[in-house]
């Protein structure tokens, strides 16, 4: 099993903190406050000449500080971006764009542009992460102010109403992620815990608190299991480990979760990001610049199946995500402090 670099895209002169890819459109979040939209849909084949075309660079005056997180809304070309300036901006592809046949793809790259739809305020200080729920109904945001907010929007993505403010973490909340098929949210925090949130009655409530990490939890990701009776989560932490959690009972509003496994410790430094693919592979990356892939064997034991050192030369990797490109295949995308986004193929 090998891990190969397919493409290295130098997109920024400063750190790239986050990326998100949807239907071949890659969005970046960087210290330089410029959000870049790049068409990488056809990169996989390596043959098309105008791959990695920059489509748009969003106005860098819309955020006064680092853009920390970006997320595409499912089934749309609406993008949410969270910034250290405590706001979240919402962008949508301009009406008169190059998508003549309306298939979501980009026909005429030169006329692609995104316009600013809304700026959401509310958090006290830096917004660390933004995430859309499975159908794009909810937008979750979290911040150093220790809270997780849930917003509801309209179809057009223009209006946002706060429907819940969740203040149970005792420290900075670093990351939020939704379950792929249910409306369940996981938040990871500097307080070393992960909290699971569900809607109940009139408001959102904490269903569980996952304790076990010995350092800040930087990120987590749900298993993409179609059988929604099984809910599992993987998490990466400052304590250099990656852990797997499983929900063992969810009769009532409160759920019981256990730490099912700690993956073989390969990283010697903080793990900043984890991602769980549709076919069950987990990828992790962090401060040591190493990209690692794990797989569960038939005895349900996790093994390292690939690793790549210095994936962004000597720089730290801030985010790793499994993505799908136009050829239908799965790739890994990483972004780091070197300002690069790297696309990897795992075979």
């Amino acid at each position: 099993m090998s891990l190969n670099l397919v493409k290295a895209l130098k997109l920024h002169n400063e750190k790239i903190w986050d990326i998100d890819c949807y239907k071949g459109l890659l969005a970046t979040a960087s210290t330089d406050r410029r959000i870049k939209i790049v068409n990488i849909g056809d990169i996989g084949d390596g043959l098309v000449s105008d791959d990695g075309r920059l489509l748009d660079e969003l106005d860098d005056s819309s955020h006064k500080k680092t853009v920390r997180s970006v997320a595409w809304r499912p089934h749309s070309t609406i993008l949410a971006a969270g910034s250290f300036d405590s706001t979240v901006s919402i962008w949508a592809k301009d009406e008169n764009d190059g998508d003549a046949d309306g298939d979501g793809g980009v026909d005429d790259p030169s006329s692609f542009s995104m316009e600013l739809l809304a700026v959401i305020e509310g958090h006290e200080n830096e917004v660390k992460s933004v995430a859309w729920s499975k159908d794009g109904y909810f937008l979750a945001t979290c911040s150093r102010d220790k809270s997780v907010w849930i917003w509801e929007s309209d179809e057009m993505g223009e209006e946002y109403e706060c429907i819940s403010v969740l203040q149970e973490h005792s420290q900075d909340v670093k990351h939020v992620v939704w379950h792929p098929f249910k409306d369940i949210l996981a938040s990871s925090s500097y307080d070393d815990t992960i909290r699971i949130w569900k809607e109940y009655d009139d408001d959102w409530e904490a269903a569980a608190v996952l304790k076990g990490h010995e350092g800040t939890v930087w990120g987590s990701d749900f298993e993409k299991n179609v059988n929604t009776d099984i809910v599992r989560l993987c998490s990466g932490s400052d304590d250099t480990t990656v852990k797997i959690w499983r929900c063992v009972s969810n009769e009532s509003i409160e759920e019981d979760w256990i730490c099912e496994a700690t993956l073989p410790n390969v990283h010697g430094k903080p793990v900043y990001s984890v991602s769980w693919s549709e076919d069950g592979l987990i990828a992790s990356a962090g401060s040591d610049g190493m990209l690692v892939i794990y797989k569960e064997n038939k005895d349900n034991v996790w093994e390292v199946v690939a690793k790549h050192e210095h994936s962004h030369s000597i720089y730290e990797i801030n985010v790793v995500k499994w993505i799908k490109l136009n050829n239908g295949k799965s790739y890994l995308a990483t972004a780091g402090d070197d300002g690069y986004v790297n696309i990897w193929a795992y075979n």
Partner: protein
């Protein structure tokens, strides 16, 4: 002291604050504005929590210190001192606290009142014990009039919300109704009408009321605020047995009125003191406003030309009352908004937003449980039940003519200082304790109607009120009332709203201790 404020208790809407996130920008203490004030030895503070809405992060360390200066121990110490100096003790108690405490002791509200009065008289030597209804009525009447003018429409009686606006949402300040809260006006009523030296203790459902009592425009009105949680700490087990023992007998109205008789000041209204008005358990401001507007249309209660409709908002904490004419046109909207998550959406009032589109994102919502006591009110309600096929216009804060905003979800009954469970009955898994308390509030406290006022116009320039202008028609009672109103609003009962730049002036009252930063290290 801090044992009272445990994380588990205050879990629904506040966060414990270890170190203030904005120690420098919001509260310049001994440095020039904006300078990093480098700390000396930090002062030991007992409280580091506040069930304050503002504790999303912006309660400052100096406020933490102020909070620690009002608690049951401070009351005991101060009252023991004042007693020797010839002060008399007046105690006022909010109805939400009466409900909470009566449930805690496992008895009816009226019985609790009677026992409480006796306890205060015998243990503390209290001369006067009052409810806050008279103060609330004054507040409501003035608020209604200010709101009628159209500019200011958000009730500022909740100190948590008020402080949040002053610190985080200054653009909402011009919309706040600048009339003092029931607690403050009760302070006025007690002290202004009295020649003797008085120490006023107030029992309130939340900790923010302590900060409210220390606002510059209200210094001295209330000497100490304590919450039911602190109060029960003050009552010894022997006192519980002696004064708050549950007995089977309930108490009759006559006995109750008799108890109140002895402790109500002569210059205050004994009829209303321990009653409450219709509306939410937070004071019913929104409901009273719609009643006021309805009365303006027609003073005949049975006039069917005008109906009041109750509409539920996006969640249990948003409720709107609408005055509808015969054709079904909405004339007036008065909205109840509780909880931080809903307060967020008040931004719409001052932001440039496109008008709310009716076509909302359709999604299935889990249904709320059936009983909805929070909006069940007596008389004159035309309820829209769930089976109604009429499509309602959704609640839109931008269209409201009056907004009652409370920081705590479910309102003051769920205040952080209120006790939720009785000592007799353990916590019941399925029931919402706040809902139960709400029911008790609505059903167990005698109601009074607020006398509607004839149309009085307040002076347009609120700063320059000429006090002492005598009208020649002295027997014209209307004019006298008008004069009195002008005086009250122009002077005493007006609330002052503070912008952050002037906040440094607010807490200079106590010059004994300089305000330090009790943080262990600078957090960024």
């Amino acid at each position: 002291m801090s044992a009272l404020l445990r994380e588990e208790d205050l879990n629904d809407f506040i966060t414990p604050e270890v170190a203030c996130i904005k120690p420098v920008s919001s509260k310049p203490s001994n440095g020039v504005d904006g300078e990093l004030s480098v700390g000396k030895e930090p002062e030991k503070v007992e409280i580091s929590l506040a069930d304050c809405l503002a504790c999303v992060g912006c309660i400052t360390s100096s406020e933490e210190i102020l909070l620690s200066r009002q608690n049951q121990d401070v009351f005991v110490k101060e009252w023991n001192e004042k007693k020797t100096e010839g002060y008399i003790l007046s105690v006022s108690i909010a109805p939400q606290c009466r409900v909470s405490l009566s449930q805690y002791f496992g008895m009816g509200v009226l019985k609790f009142d009677q026992m409480f009065i006796r306890y205060l008289q015998e243990v503390w030597g209290a001369r006067y014990v009052v409810g806050i209804q008279e103060g609330r009525e004054e507040s409501i009447k003035l608020m209604n009039e200010v709101a009628d003018k159209g500019e200011r429409k958000i009730c500022s009686a909740c100190p948590g919300f008020l402080m949040y606006c002053e610190k985080k949402q200054q653009d909402l300040l011009p919309l706040l109704i600048d009339v003092k809260s029931p607690m403050e006006i009760t302070g006025h009523l007690l002290k202004d009408g009295n020649k003797e030296k008085m120490y006023h203790l107030s029992i309130m459902p939340c900790f923010d009321k302590k900060l409210e009592s220390m606002r510059p425009e209200s210094i001295g009105l209330v000497d100490c605020v304590i919450t039911p949680k602190e109060l029960v700490n003050l009552i010894t087990p022997e006192q519980v047995d002696k004064y708050f023992a549950t007995t089977k007998e309930t108490i009759g109205m006559l006995e109750w009125e008799d108890a109140i008789q002895r402790v109500t000041p002569k210059w205050m209204n004994i009829d209303t003191s321990f009653k409450t008005n219709e509306g939410s358990s937070s004071g019913g401001f929104a409901w009273q406003y719609i009643l006021h507007r309805r009365f303006q249309m027609s003073d005949n209660d049975n006039d069917n030309a005008y109906k009041i409709e109750t509409v539920r908002g996006r969640n249990l904490d948003v409720t709107e009352f609408r005055l509808i004419d015969e054709e079904g046109k909405i004339l007036v909207r008065s909205t109840q908004v509780f909880g931080f998550r809903n307060i967020q959406n008040l931004r719409r009032l001052v932001k440039d937003v496109k008008p709310r589109k009716l076509k909302r994102f359709i999604r299935k919502r889990p249904t709320a449980n059936g009983n909805d006591n929070s909006i069940s009110l007596s008389s004159s309600i035309n309820n829209q039940d769930n089976n109604n096929t009429k499509v309602e216009e959704p609640v839109d804060f931008c269209k409201s003519d009056f907004l009652e905003v409370m920081a705590c979800p479910r309102g003051c009954i769920a205040g952080g200082g209120n006790l939720k469970n009785g000592i007799k009955n353990g916590p019941d898994q399925d029931s919402d304790p706040n809902q139960d308390l709400n029911t008790v509030y609505m059903t167990s406290i005698p109601m009074t109607s607020i006398e509607p006022r004839h149309n009085l116009t307040l002076p347009s320039s609120q700063e320059n009120v000429i006090v002492g202008v005598i009208s020649h028609d002295l027997d014209d009672s209307n004019t006298i009332i008008k004069l009195q109103e002008e005086q009250k609003y122009g002077n005493k009962y007006k609330r002052k709203l503070y912008n952050p730049s002037s906040i440094s002036e607010t807490h200079n009252g106590d010059s004994k201790n300089t305000i330090e930063q009790p943080v262990q290290f600078t957090t960024w």
